[in-house]
Amino acid sequence: MPHIDIDPEKCGYCGGCVIVCHDDAIDLLEVTLTISDACTLCNACIVFCPVGALEMADD
């Protein structure tokens, strides 16, 4: 299944990806970022991420 992978070693837990998510799919708590099934793979968070912690994956 295509989905968005979060690299916890790159993620700075800034929450900026949440504001560009129109699916209300991203949730940030302290150092845990999660992307729910509501994600429509629009790519906005991947483009936004200042450090490249988000990537499209298919497995």
Partner: protein, 392 residues
């Protein structure tokens, strides 16, 4: 068991804490919740606030958290022609961890209850009230209130739960990253800004002195303009070229709303403050003072609404009107300038730099912070008219 408060404030940044403090001072019962275990950390900010007299409206200035007084700005357009502007006392660089904590303590001292490591997970409206579900150390807690304030930052969900659409497209945000660099020799009291499509497409790169030969060095870029590089790539390129010997002792990153004001900051029982309400300046991307000003404003409106026993959207909309008059109307114009800026080539930016240098030379800070100045700037950019069609 459901606990009762008049107001629940979600998020203990500067906006949330000032809202809670102002409400508590008016005798309103307030619960201030922060999802993190430590208020103020981790840093997401370049830490410039100001000026001192404005900070004093909200909290006594403590030299312990003031790291630098700012007296001057240096702007560097891509061609390198430096623009200097003396603005004595225009702001201070603060230690945000201590600053945010001091504001939360002030809120508690005024009578607000503060809970950390407590996240809001949803809200429901029942009979004119609002029930906020909170989660603290793995346990659910329900709190009934008459108003919930979403001061929950760029990742705000309170607005969305309350029916206010706060998601933004990629042209409406900055993608930002910053190092706290050591071993930097530079002018103290001077904020330096670097512009250009090779340096910071759509945004700018900053060097803000922090004392002890350290500085916040960061970049904000428009994700709509960044091509195949990211904010971090732009920052690393600058640091490698300019400060190859410097070490970073802290890294911060974040998203900054630059789309201008929301249509409305309120819904029935719900009010947004600070980044959650897109109250950042679309040109400077600054937001701390705005959040505090808005928080105090929201608190006054909420306290009045509670006294009238009417916390409907209509009753709370006085806050919308006051925000528009204070900054919203100006920021609508700043957002238009920002959208135009995203289209400019480096050549355009150099010409804009020349225009700006002449325009700001004799103007006072208050004059720069006006719709009149935006109009003057737009008039002097008439040579860019073909690009104006992107403005709406």
């Amino acid at each position: 068991m459901t606990e009762q408060y008049d107001v629940v404030v979600v998020g203990a940044g500067p906006g949330g804490s000032v809202t809670a403090k102002t409400l508590a001072a008016r005798g309103v019962s307030v619960l201030l919740v922060e999802k993190r275990q430590e208020i103020g950390a981790a840093l997401r900010c370049a830490e410039v606030v100001g000026p001192r007299p404005e900070i004093r409206r909200f909290i006594e200035v403590d030299e312990g958290w003031v790291l630098q007084d700012i007296d001057e700005l240096w702007l560097f357009p891509p061609g390198g022609q430096k623009i200097e502007k003396r603005l004595p006392g225009c702001g201070v660089l603060v230690d945000r961890k201590r600053f945010d904590k001091a504001l939360a303590i002030a809120a508690a001292d005024a009578g607000a209850r503060v809970w950390t490591k407590t996240r809001a997970t949803g809200l429901t409206r029942e009979d004119g009230r609002v029930v906020v579900t909170l989660r603290h150390l793995g346990t659910d807690r329900r709190v009934a209130a008459r108003v919930v304030v979403g001061a929950d930052g760029v990742e705000s969900l309170v607005g969305r739960w309350g029916g206010i659409e706060t998601a933004l497209g990629l042209t409406g945000v900055f993608s930002a990253v910053q190092y706290h660099l050591t071993g930097i020799d530079g002018p103290s009291g001077v904020l330096q800004f670097f512009f250009g499509n090779e340096v910071a497409p759509g945004g700018y790169l900053w060097v803000f002195p922090k004392g002890d030969r350290t500085a916040n060095v960061g970049v904000c870029v428009s994700p709509a303009c960044q091509k195949d590089r990211r904010a971090l790539d732009y920052l690393n390129a600058f640091v490698a070229a300019r400060y190859p010997e410097a070490s970073s002792v802290e890294m911060a990153m974040g998203g900054i709303p630059i789309a201008g004001p929301l249509k409305s900051l309120v819904a029935d029982n719900v009010v947004l403050v600070g980044d959650a309400g897109h109250q950042t300046n679309p040109l400077s991307a600054g937001g701390i003072m705005n959040a505090m000003v808005a928080g105090a404003m929201a608190a006054e409106v909420i306290a009045d609404a509670l006294a009238r026993r009417d916390v409907s959207k209509e009753s709370l909309s006085a806050y919308d009107q006051r925000w528009r008059e204070t900054a919203g109307n100006l920021y609508r114009w700043h957002a238009r300038l920002r959208r135009l800026y995203l289209k400019l080539s480096d050549r355009d930016l150099d010409r804009l730099g020349e225009v700006l240098a002449a325009l700001i030379r004799d103007r006072q800070p208050d004059d720069l912070y006006s719709i009149e100045f935006v109009a003057t700037l737009l008039r002097s950019m008439a040579w860019m008219l073909p690009k104006f069609r992107f403005l709406r």
